[in-house]
């Protein structure tokens, strides 16, 4: 949805959060596993959205704006905290993926496993890709170059393929 004139009232903001709570909660769960951490980052995102609302000129859709503010808030927090789960590389989570391979019962589980194995920026890239944004748009949203986004996407695709090879070989 697009707005010609932005209403910065609290009523409008409440409605905006209600409309996009799925995006916000999804991002929180992707980046943080503990409930209290998810609640903390959700508060940070909501506060940042509120602070940023007066500067939103309606040039993009509200969902794009929510993604932009939310992801940049999360990435900023991640950079500061450098928490253990976010430092995990594909190699370090590999064992975990194998031991929980029985959970690969649908695409959603596959997605969760894939995302959890990625680094913070790569998570943002894949989420925005799955949301349907083009490489140039992804680059603009999380302040990367287009070529960097392309490289990261190719790497993620390769990782996904290798994960599935491992998974299927485990099943046999």
């Amino acid at each position: 949805m697009k707005f010609q004139r932005m209403d910065t009232s609290k009523e409008f903001f409440l409605q905006l959060i209600a409309n996009h709570k799925g995006i916000i909660k999804s991002l929180c769960t992707v980046y943080y596993s503990k409930a209290e951490d998810q609640q903390d980052i959700r508060q940070d995102i909501i506060l940042q959205l509120w602070k940023s609302l007066p500067t939103f000129r309606g040039e993009s859709t509200t969902s794009t704006w929510v993604y932009r503010v939310s992801l940049n808030t999360i990435l900023s927090k991640v950079r500061k905290e450098q928490r253990q789960p976010l430092k995990e590389s594909i190699d370090s989570t590999h064992e975990n993926v194998l031991t929980t391979s029985y959970q690969y019962d649908d695409d959603l589980q596959v997605l969760k496993q894939l995302i959890q194995s990625l680094k913070a920026i790569d998570k943002a890239v894949i989420i925005l890709y799955l949301e349907g944004y083009k490489n140039k748009e992804i680059a603009e949203l999380i302040q990367l170059s287009s070529s960097n986004v392309s490289t990261r996407l190719n790497r993620i695709k390769t990782q996904l393929k290798s994960k599935f090879k491992i998974y299927h070989s485990e099943l046999r």
Partner: protein, 61 residues
């Protein structure tokens, strides 16, 4: 496995999470809290300043 195959899974993930409840009161508390803290800090600083002025005034008399 194609990455595009996971687009519907992401939609499903969002849909599941959109069912979570976040109350208006909770949101209002989040956005009002910093303003409330600022207000309290300003009030505290004002009171301290007033106390110091009165203290100095009384000593001078």
């Amino acid at each position: 496995m194609n990455l595009d195959n996971l687009k519907s899974a992401w939609k499903q993930h969002k849909l599941e999470n959109s069912l979570s409840i976040i109350s208006h009161d909770e949101i209002l508390q989040i956005i009002d809290e910093p303003e409330m803290i600022n207000y309290r800090v300003r009030r505290l600083v004002g009171n301290i300043a007033m106390f110091l002025i009165l203290l100095l005034g009384c000593q001078g008399g």
